[in-house]
């Protein structure tokens, strides 16, 4: 799977290419940001992945949007959004999947996970599905949760400070994604971003 890093722009409107990972890494230093990605599937037999990764801190305020439109049969897309939020950061995410009436045998999934590390953060999530064909498989899931108290307690009982323990668990959260990515180039980009 080839990797395309989406950067230096706020809005992307793309016709996806076969077996491609579109990667969005949110700028950690930015205090305010907006990223919108539209993927239009106009050719059959295409399969791609869209991945957002972000570590949001320092009162940063983000608006994220993904619109996956399946217009023809036999296409598939996996959209994943992994965010870690701390220090009063805010995020508003709208993730839409539209499967048109002609687009039978489509597979489209959206997964959003927000890990709340600090206090006073705000998270808004709107995962939308619009399905106009019956021969499809589509789903979305969105979760927003804090670090597991039991995990935190265990690590702190082993001598880690609270912030060290939080960092380890945050790494573990993102490691799940790294494990699922086979492309070395993409893996390297994400590892560099997480450092």
């Amino acid at each position: 799977m080839q990797t395309v890093l989406l950067q230096n722009q706020k809005e992307f409107s793309l016709e996806p290419k076969q077996n491609t990972l579109y990667l969005v890494l949110l700028d950690k230093e930015s205090s305010i940001g907006k990223i919108k990605v539209d993927l239009f599937f106009k050719k059959s037999n295409l399969n791609c992945q869209l991945l957002f990764i972000g570590i949001l801190k320092n009162k940063s305020n983000w608006y994220l949007e993904s619109n996956i439109k399946h217009l023809v049969p036999k296409t598939s897309c996996l959209t994943e959004v992994y965010l870690s939020q701390s220090d009063e950061s805010k995020v508003d995410y709208l993730g839409q999947i539209l499967i048109e009436q002609k687009a039978s045998q489509t597979k489209s999934f959206l997964k959003e996970q927000s890990l709340i590390v600090g206090d006073a953060v705000y998270n808004r999530s709107q995962p939308v599905l619009e399905i106009l064909n019956n021969r499809v498989k589509a789903s979305h899931s969105a979760t927003s949760s804090r670090l597991n108290e039991a995990d935190l307690f265990y690590l702190m009982s082993r001598g880690f400070t609270k912030s060290e323990a939080e960092k380890i668990l945050q790494e573990a959260f993102f490691n799940k994604i790294l494990d699922s990515i086979k492309n070395k180039e993409a893996k390297k980009m994400i590892e560099d971003y997480l450092c």
Binding site: Q126, P127, V128, N134
Partner: protein
């Protein structure tokens, strides 16, 4: 007919058949909404001045409010072509022949008794099972439970009524709540005293009752501290109405440690816009459960909500939507976590068939004050043919510390493998699909009172017969 003669006739009917003829009203206001109509509704019901003023003020709010600019199209609704005050005599003028054939056929297949069919089809205005009603009423009276029509409650329990009425759904909430506030008529008033457990579901004994059913009914329920009750509204058999708009308002107050379940099965005929505002306010450690089945109507927009206002409050929503023949079932739920340690769960299932469209539209809001709150939302949609559609529009806003919110939704068709297995065991395609649909909605159907569950399954079986294959 003289009133005394009518009373005798009613008594005789009540004794012999368990239902009575309506008392006829001589009031007629024609079509359209005006201050005159609203004032006349209030006068006819002999309401106190404050209620009349409330209605008139709500009418102004209705004029000011705009139609919703989201969701299904409501352009067809013409407020000037609706009758806001319906006299019983007009309902009597309709005959059995006016009732659409599909509805008559469904009654036949469901085995609905003729007297009940007449009521559901609007041929008869009243169907009160007086005998059952009286015995249940006696039982409720002994426990101090108030269960009566809203009109009766306003006359007999005005202070209690005034304390809660429109406190949860104010007229300014939305255009249709304003309309209901101005023109409301009928609906139930329920008060459950502290620590009282109502053994039988309210309404199941007299599930259809003219005074509790109408175009703009309003329901007000107060479950006092530590009480426990189940209220059932509507029925599975189709309800035929000529009137194009049904805009109800339901307010439920669930006090500390109380538990209340509100079950609705809506099966209006296919010409109705069903636009309902339902809301519950749940206090400390209270539990509110909405169980909602939407089968009928042309367009339904209904999002029952729970305001979880004190620590430990819990809200739950179980809903089924069945959209067929170009129906739009735009349903969902709203859970507002406004205090710490509150929790909620939404399970929504929908089936779209023969050009129907089901939408889930929901909100989970966790306020800053609602630390340690939890919410889980599950939406599953089944599309049975290429003409149908489905959508989910969830919205999750989380500001509370240590909140945990999860949402998942899936859309699928009936799996070929399952269908093949059932057909290889001798079922035909329709039977196999019906069985799979029944299995899909089973988690919600099992929460319904038995007679409703049986009838609902039977109804879905009938609906599937004409739509598959």
């Amino acid at each position: 007919m003289k009133k005394s003669n009518l009373k005798k006739l009613n008594d005789a009917y009540a004794d012999r058949f368990g239902f009575s003829m309506p008392e006829k009203s001589l009031i007629n206001f024609g079509f359209g909404l005006s201050e005159k109509v609203i004032a006349a509704i209030s006068d006819a019901k002999q309401e106190p001045t404050w209620m009349k003023e409330f209605r008139l003020q709500s009418l102004q709010t209705f004029y000011q409010k705009k139609m919703p600019n989201w969701g299904p199209s409501l352009e067809e609704i013409d407020f000037d072509k609706i009758r806001y005050f319906i006299k019983d005599t007009d309902i009597e003028k309709r005959t059995w022949n006016d009732v659409p054939k599909e509805i008559k056929d469904t009654f036949d297949r469901l085995g609905v008794p003729q007297a009940e069919r007449d009521f559901l089809a609007g041929v008869k205005a009243q169907y009160n099972s007086e005998v059952a009603y009286s015995s249940l009423q006696k039982e409720l009276d002994e426990q101090g439970i108030i269960f009566c029509s809203m009109e009766e409650a306003l006359q007999k329990h005005e202070d209690l009524f005034k304390e809660y009425f429109a406190k949860l759904v104010p007229a300014a909430d939305n255009k249709f709540a304003a309309l209901n506030s101005a023109a409301w008529s009928g609906g139930s008033f329920v008060y459950i005293p502290p620590n009282t457990h109502v053994k039988r579901p309210l309404q199941s004994y007299f599930r259809i009752n003219a005074a509790r059913m109408g175009q703009f009914e309003r329901t007000l329920i107060i479950a006092d501290e530590g009480s426990n009750a189940h209220y059932v509204e509507g029925c599975t058999a189709p309800v035929y109405s000529e009137y194009s708009l049904h805009a109800a308002v339901v307010e439920v107050f669930v006090k500390r440690n109380a538990r209340f379940r509100y079950t609705t099965i809506q099966n209006w005929s296919g010409n109705i816009y069903n636009l309902v505002t339902k809301r519950a306010k749940v206090f400390a450690d209270g539990v509110m459960e909405w169980v909602d089945g939407n089968l009928g109507a042309k367009t339904t927009m209904k999002y029952p909500s729970c305001f979880l206002v004190e620590e430990g409050a819990y809200g739950e929503m179980l809903s089924i939507a069945y959209a067929k023949n170009n129906q739009i079932q735009d349903t969902g739920a709203k859970m507002l976590h406004l205090a710490k340690n509150t929790s909620s769960k939404i399970i929504a299932k929908s089936v779209s068939i023969a050009g129907g469209r089901s939408n889930y539209r929901g909100l989970v809001y966790v306020s800053k004050a609602a630390s340690n709150s939890k919410s889980k939302v599950e939406c599953d949609a089944l599309i049975l043919d290429s003409k149908s559609a489905t959508a989910t529009y969830p919205d999750m806003k989380i500001a509370g510390d240590n909140a945990s919110v999860a949402h998942e939704a899936s859309v699928s068709e009936i799996e070929e493998e399952k269908l093949f297995y059932l057909m290889s065991r001798g079922l035909n395609k329709i039977e196999a699909m019906t069985l799979l649909v029944a299995g899909f909605i089973e988690p919600i159907v099992k929460e319904l009172p038995l007679e409703y569950a049986v009838e609902l399954n039977r109804l879905i079986e009938l609906e599937m017969e004409g739509s598959v294959g």
